[in-house]
Each structure stands twice: as C-alpha cells, then as structure tokens.
Amino acid sequence: MKYTTPAGDTVIDRQRVVGQPTTRIDGPLKVTGHAPYAYERHDVAANQAYGYIVPSAIAKGRVRSIDLAEAKAQPGVITILTTTEVDELPLGMGHTVPLFGGSEIRFYHQALALVVAETFEQARAAAKLVRVDYERTQGNHDFHALAPDAPLVEGSDGPDVSKVGDFEAAYASAPVSIDVTYETPHESHAMMEPHASIAAWEGEKLTLWTSNQMIAWSKQAVAKMLDLDPANVRLDSPFLGGGFGAKLFVRVDAVVAALAAKKAGRPVKVMLDRPLVFNNTTHRSATIQRLRFGAERDGRLTAISHECTSGNLAGQEGENGIAQTRLLYAGANRYTAQRIARLDLPEANAMRAPGETAGLMALEGAMDELAEKLGMDPVELRIVNDTQVDPETPNRPYSSRMMVECLRRGAEAFGWDKRNKTPGGMREGRWLIGHGMAVGFRNSVQMKSAARVRLSSNGKLTVETDMTDIGTGSYTILAQTAAEMLGLPLEDVTVTLGDSDMPASCGSGGQWGAQNSTSGVYAACVKLREDIAGRFAMDPNTAEFIDGEIRAGAESRKLTEATASGEIVAEDSVEYDELSKKYQQSTFAGHFVEIAVDAYTGETYVRRMLAACAAGRILNPISARSQVIGAMTMGVGGALTEELAVDTRFGFFVNHDLAGYEVPVHADIPHQEVIFLDELDAIASPMKAKGVGELGLCGVGAAVANALYNATGVRVREYPLTLDKYLDKLPAV
C-alpha cells in the first residue's frame, strides 16, 4: 500500500476492537514466566555452551598480548575467543566503532575475549584468569574540558547550523530577554534485561536468538560484520525485557556468540554482565545547552537561539538537543547549532527520545525562566507562541497540532490555577510545595512496514511480521488491528513477532513502532479482504467483515467458506513518500508536576504528575497509558537521580550497576494521571495514529525542575537535581 493521500473513512474508524482498552494478550505468558526471553531459550538448540566476556580494564590503548594459559586449563573450558585472533569487524548499522576484533581499545569494558565453558560459573571463573597485557594511552574523557572548543557537527550538507531571519539583531532589541545555560548528564537506558544472544550454526547458516528492537536492520548488520549472505542469517527476538534504544543495533553479545559458536562447534549463549550494559554498550550523551530568547512584553518570541554541545567517539553525532527548538515555537528570528566534543568514552547513541529528552530539559526550563521574567503564566507563554506551521518553513503545516488543547486540558485537570504562584511560597509542615509544567514534543515518523496475514481453514487469523514488542504492547495492538479488519474476536487472532524470516516491519524505535506496524498489518488485511470478497464476487470496498462473516447487502458468507479449500495468505506493506515532506508530523503533551522538598534536607519527591497527550488515534488506551506512565517515570529519574558518573582520569562510567545508577523506585512515583485527547491524524498513517512511546518522557525533566524552582525559589540548571546542588540555597534551619 502506497500511502500518498490521507485516508478518508476506514474500517478502523468503527473502533470495535482498535481503540478499546485491551489488556496485553501476551500478559499471561509474562506473568507466569513462560515468555521466552533470549537467554532462557534452552529448547531452541541442543548442547548450548556458556560464554563470558573478558572486558577491557582500560579505556584507551591497545592489547599487547593475551595470556590464556591459566584460563584454558580451568575445568569446563571449551574454547576462548580473543579479539586479536580476528580482524576488526566492519561497522554494522548504527555503530561508531567496531564491536570486536583487533588490538585497539577505544572504550572501557570493550570485549577482549570470550571464555566458553560448559557452565556459566566455569566460564566466569576462567574469564578472571585471562591475563591481558595493555599498552595504555591517555584519552580525552572530560566532556566539560572539551566542550568549550567543540566544533560544529558536520552533517551531509555542511555544519549543523540553522539561521532564520536575524537572531542577533532581534535579540539585541528585544524588550525582554534571557541567556541561560543548562546541563544534562550522561544517561543509561538501564533496561531490565541486559543484552543477550544464543548463536548456532548449521553449515553457513547462522541463527541468533537475541534481544533486539530492529530485526531487519540487525540482520543486515550481522551479515555485514560476519561477512555472510544475509539469506544465511536469521534473528529471532519475540520478547525483550526493555530496550529504550540500547537494542536498536546489534551489540557485542551477538557477534561474540556467533564467532565463538563457530569456533566451539556448538551453540554458545552470552549475556552481558550488568556493568557491561553501562560501559560496553551505548548511552545518552551529556549536553551543555545555551538558550537565548528575546520576547515582546506580551510574551511573543522574536528571537530564539539554542546551541547544544554533546560528546561522542569520533565518527558519530551526539545528542541533538536542538531538534525540537527548530519546530516548537513561533518566532521570526532563529539560530540553532549543534557542536560535538570528541570524547574517549563509551559510544553515545540513541536513548528513548534522543534529542528531545535532553533538549526539552533545557528549552522548557528556559521558557519557565522567560515566563517569570515576563510575569506571565508559563502555560500562557507557550500558548502565545503556538504555531500551526513549521516555523523555519512556513509553507509546511503541521498535520495536526494540539499543543494548546493539551495545555488547556492538562492545566484544568491538574488544577494549575490553584497552584503556588510564588516561588518558595507554599509550605506544608517541613515540606516546600512546588508546581511546574512543560510542553512535551516528539516527532511522529513514517516508516515502511510489512506484514503477512494467514486466514486458516478454521477461521482463525495469524499475523506474521518481524515487528518487536519491547514491552510496549505490539502483540496486542497488531491483534486488535487484524481483528478489526476481519471482523474477528481478538482471541481468534494470533500474532507472531520478531523473526527475521517474516516480512520486515518498521521495528521498535523512535516511537514509530505502533502506527507503522499496525498500518502494515492494515495493508495486509486490506489485501486479504479483497481476496475473500473476490471469492464471493463481492465489492471489497463496501463489503462488511463482522462476526466471522463477510456481508454485502442481504448476502452473508462465513469466512470459513472462503478457506474451505485451504488457508488464504496475504502480504503487503505500508509505504510513504511525500506526506512527511509536505507536513510536519509531531505529537504533543502538557506535563504538570507537583513536588515536595524537605526544607531541612533538600530531599525532593514528586507527589503527583499529569500528562495530557495528543498522539493521533490511541490504538489501545491501556498499553498507551502504560507507555506514557513508564516514560513519565523515566523522566523523573532523568530529572532527579539518573547520571552516569564519569571518572575523567580513567575514562569510564563509575556507577555501573543498578545500585549506583539510580532509576526511580515505586516509592518515588506516587500518583500519575494520563489524559489522551481525541485526535485522528490521517496524514500520519492509515491508522490515523501517531507514536506515543517517547512523548511521555519529553518535557518531564523540565516540569520537575520548574516545580523545584517554584517550591524553593532556587533555579538549578544542572541535571540531575540532586540536593547537593541547592542545599546551601535553601532557607536556613
């Protein structure tokens, strides 16, 4: 299906199944422990051996030699794969540096060897006895030291700088202006399930049972890195214990398992130790962001400048904190630019809502500061600066933009008008109470996505696609889509995901998964409907599929009549072309937060939070809400506690476990409310849906920071907002 013009009325608009609050169809498997996660797939290949990675103890340098004598002699050891016995692997998709091979060391905990043994414990014990002789070189590990001299990011069209109008002149003449700098730290995805893979060879054919968000990309990457015909590579990843972007691209577990399985002549399984999730895989880069605004006294922005510096290894962009600033608010004179410091730290890469998460932590904090300087309600300041077109390209309208409605609905439901309006002015016993808000913004992305549907002779439907469910609810919304299209009850639909032998989907990332993967299933179902209708000489456009029947006028046939001679298979994809060029497609939220700060100790706790979201058709209010509250929780972590602490001497993230890298616990998140606005966006997708999985995170950090200011009168511009950064500015006790 080529999606070139916005859909009119469709079958989905009936919303008999789609849009209904439906619990996860894979829920029972998960809560009973029967969902097969990568490392636990004991049944897929016999004789699995255990691999354990020997990580680099230094951040930069090279391996002089590796002594395996003692390790090899340990009980149970089958083989040891070392980095020096293979050439540097080619870069796979998304990689900044090789995952394995060669003697150069580019980051701490880089994999230098894999010990393969009969048991996990044997492999781990022997791994400790692998002796690596290092040649250490001094690296550049200190982002703050490098940031002032960081060069502009070079894009394919030159430096990433955008100028509209004359910022400097407008800024200089603005009656009200601010110039503030915010900092966000390095952050880790810290998903529950570490990266894991089981590899098995049959001749030249490699199968990887793994935990990966993007099956089609990753299949190609594995083929490239290992020099295989893609036809000989199969990935299977039906369940993931979270990813948040950490599993967009193949990581070292998959390639060392594959190489070691070949060497050992038997299947090998590898899971990354928790510390390796932090230092061996990817993270969100820290940022330093300078914002300058010029505004009229009525709040209208006349000058907007946002400059963001982040860091990464050479060869890759960092955190694009300016992306949303090019789109979010009106303003005639604009300047945005991105700089990148070349750091010898582990690879920075996409983490949930890359760009907007860090960017909005700064932009929406600065907007709060401007509102205060103007003496204006922060909600009204945003509304005054609404735009219905891309402000850099005004002939490009938004497909649908309900920012103002999100703010009004959210403010009303939250009781924003009853908030504390004086910084430091509301106290309950020992607690300073504060309220803050921010706009949430994240783009909706169109991606090709294919699926196959099979209607079997018993009238049951199977959906097949390599789409992944990273905890988001993909299984459920794909089943809902197919059930709606074919007029079947949900329980008559089976969904099979994550297998690279199935049609290539959009995968899970960038909050593009839901609307594109369901649209792919929609396209396949349209074909299936045509096939069935054709068998009964009915018009597929007017025929109705309902209760296991196809009906046209007075005529009605059971679907099982159509499959009497065997199953019917249909496959199609959704593909897009010009709609995303003609229209800016984005999702919006109003985030509202109430916090309490202990006036004595500075401990800050969120008391309640609310998000009002507009993201097109909400395909399943239960799983969508689950996405948003999870993202809001991640936003609280980003605001208050999460930071990868860098040892700038030795170049590594020091707090590399879940005790040291503090994500929120249940007690940190007492009350969350999510409101979905009614919105259908036919430009965004045939399903009229947009993404929602990242929207819930975007803006939360700033809402918390703004609430902290409101509670205490102390503006903290350096995330996370730990008490050591404002304790000395709290009222004396």
Binding site: A125, T641, V654, E662, L727, V733
Partner: protein
C-alpha cells in the same frame, strides 16, 4: 567466583572451630553481600561455614531488662518484633530504611554488621583500592566520591560503613557478643566494633580470624522519641548520603549517631552533650572533616538533617 568448599555446622563453637581449622574460611548466613562479592572475586574464601543451623535465631529478654538478638535473626524479624518496635523503635526504623524486602528477609543481624562498603572503586576490580588490595592505592579519593566519607577516613581509604541497622545500634549502645575458635567469648561495645582503619582499611572490625558473632544485646529501653532519618537520592533501595539515628526527649536532649559519613556509625560524646543545640552538635560531629569537593555538602547536610530530626522530636514539623 573461585571454587570453595562448604560445610554446615550446628553450634557457634563448632562454627568457630571449623573456621579456625580451614584456612581462608568465611561464615555464611544470609549471604546477601558475601555472595555478590564472591561473584566479583572481591571476596575469595576457600571455605564457607554455613552457620544458619546454629540456632541463633531468637530474640530473648536479658536479666538487665534489655534484649539479646541472636546473630541469625533476620532483618525482617528484628524490625517487626513487637518489643523492638515498642522500646527500640529507632532500630526498627533504621532496618526498614535499608535494602529491600527480599534482602531483609535473607539478611541477618550478624551479617548486616559485617556488610562491606559500597564504594564503587571497591567494587570495580580494575581500579586501585587499598581495602581490596592493600598497598595498591585509592582511586576514589580523586575520583567519583560523592557518596564517600568525610570524617574518620584516612589517606588510604575514604569509604564509609554503608549500613543503617548499625547506626541505630550505635545510638542504643548495643554490644556485640562473639565466640572465638578456642571457645572463649567476649562482649564488644558497638562503638568499638568497627575500626577507624587508618592505613589498614582492609581490616574493618576488631573481630579476629574465625571469631563469630553470636548475638547483639541491647541495654534496657531508653524511652524518648526514636527517629531514623535517612537522606538519599531516591526513596528506597539507596545507601544513605547522611542518616541520623536519634533518641531524644521532649526538650531535644538525648543522643544521636550519624550514618553515611565515616568508616563506622559516627557518634561523638560532645555532640550528645551539646544537644539540643544543633549547630554545636553538628560541629562536633563533623569536626576534623576532610571531605572531597564532591562530598563536602555532607557537612551541611549533617546539620540540616539533625535540625529536621530535632524539629520532628519537638513535634514541630511533620
């Protein structure tokens, strides 16, 4: 994890003897800290003596009107004991401020006293750590040190004793009872139990090799208001930046011990004497502090947390 041998014993004396017999032995009860450290090969015992069968899992009343807590009483059982909740509430509150429910179910009273520091450089075996490898230096001092100690620390090591329970036991003047390999027993005031390690940070307590904790005794109840305030970055499952265990009367007189700042629960006579003057008490508690840039905030945090505790004791601020 290095291979090790394992045996179960059925009495404390047998345990101490077993440990003395086998070189490089450790006792294991809940194992919540020891097993983690063994997996990382930070602890490498050659022999484990499982003491869970030694019957030390009761809380009994002493002739002096206090309590004797068997070394194997779980954190959960201790925190929820009616007598503890009534007469030693600071202890109950400190315990439930630590770890998680699952860990508290496994962790024991004796083991908790011996939990090791959470300094990240102690945990990362690639880094220099005098506590882990004596004489190798301390990577923490000039590294990431926000969580680490400010008083009682040394050039060799700026780690803290990480626990909560012991801070409350310190304020209650608890005593640790032990048995040695030769069968002799002794009673060690908790204030003397954890060492100020100086240049030997790998030796954290006064226990001799093979000496086993059998019980912790509490003197008769003190009365007063019992408060444990643990300041941390998130609301659960985090170690203290600073914690205050306090037993105070209505005027704010009493005693306090501080966690999260030193190699042991930190109690200073002059501070107790100064109460209810928070400023003077806090100054006494942080006297001689040698913080890093990253953890200097703990000095102010001690004072402010103490002030908050005092306000709570007076019923001023809930």
């Amino acid at each position: 994890m290095k291979p090790f041998s394992y045996e179960r014993v059925s009495s404390p004396a047998e345990a101490a003897a077993a440990a003395a017999r086998a070189g490089g032995a450790k006792f294991i009860a809940g194992g919540t800290n020891l097993l983690d450290l063994m997996k990382l090969e930070i602890e490498t015992p050659r022999h484990l003596v499982d003491v869970t069968g030694t019957g030390l899992d009761e809380i009994t009343e002493t002739d002096e009107g206090g309590l004797r807590i068997g070394a194997l009483v779980s954190n959960t059982a201790l925190a929820s004991d009616e007598r503890v909740k009534r007469d030693y509430a600071v202890l109950s509150r400190a315990i439930v401020a630590g770890a998680s429910g699952q860990l508290r179910n496994k962790a024991t009273t004796g083991g908790n006293l011996l939990q090791r520091t959470r300094c990240p450089y102690f945990y990362d075996t690639n880094q220099a750590c005098n506590k882990r490898k004596p004489g190798r230096g301390c990577a923490a001092k000039e590294g990431v040190s926000r969580q680490l100690g400010i008083v009682g620390v040394s050039d060799a090591c700026i780690a803290t004793y990480p626990g909560d329970m012991a801070v409350a036991l310190r304020v209650l003047d608890a005593v640790v009872e032990t048995v040695k390999a030769d069968g002799t027993t002794r009673a060690i005031p908790l204030g003397d139990f954890h060492r100020l390690w100086g240049d030997t940070p790998h030796i954290e307590t006064v226990l001799e090799p093979g000496e086993m904790i059998t019980a912790v005794t509490l003197p008769k109840p003190l009365g007063g208001t019992h408060i444990y305030h643990k300041v941390r970055d998130r609301r659960s499952y985090a170690f203290a930046l600073v914690s205050v265990a306090a037993v105070l009367d209505a005027d704010g007189h009493g005693r306090v011990a501080i966690g999260g700042i030193a190699p042991r629960p930190w109690r200073v006579e002059a501070a107790d004497a100064a109460l209810p003057d928070v400023k003077v008490a806090a100054r006494a508690l942080t006297q001689g502090a040698s913080p890093t840039d990253q953890n200097a905030f703990k000095i102010a945090l001690v004072e402010r947390t103490l002030a908050g505790v005092m306000a709570k004791a007076r019923g001023e601020a809930a």
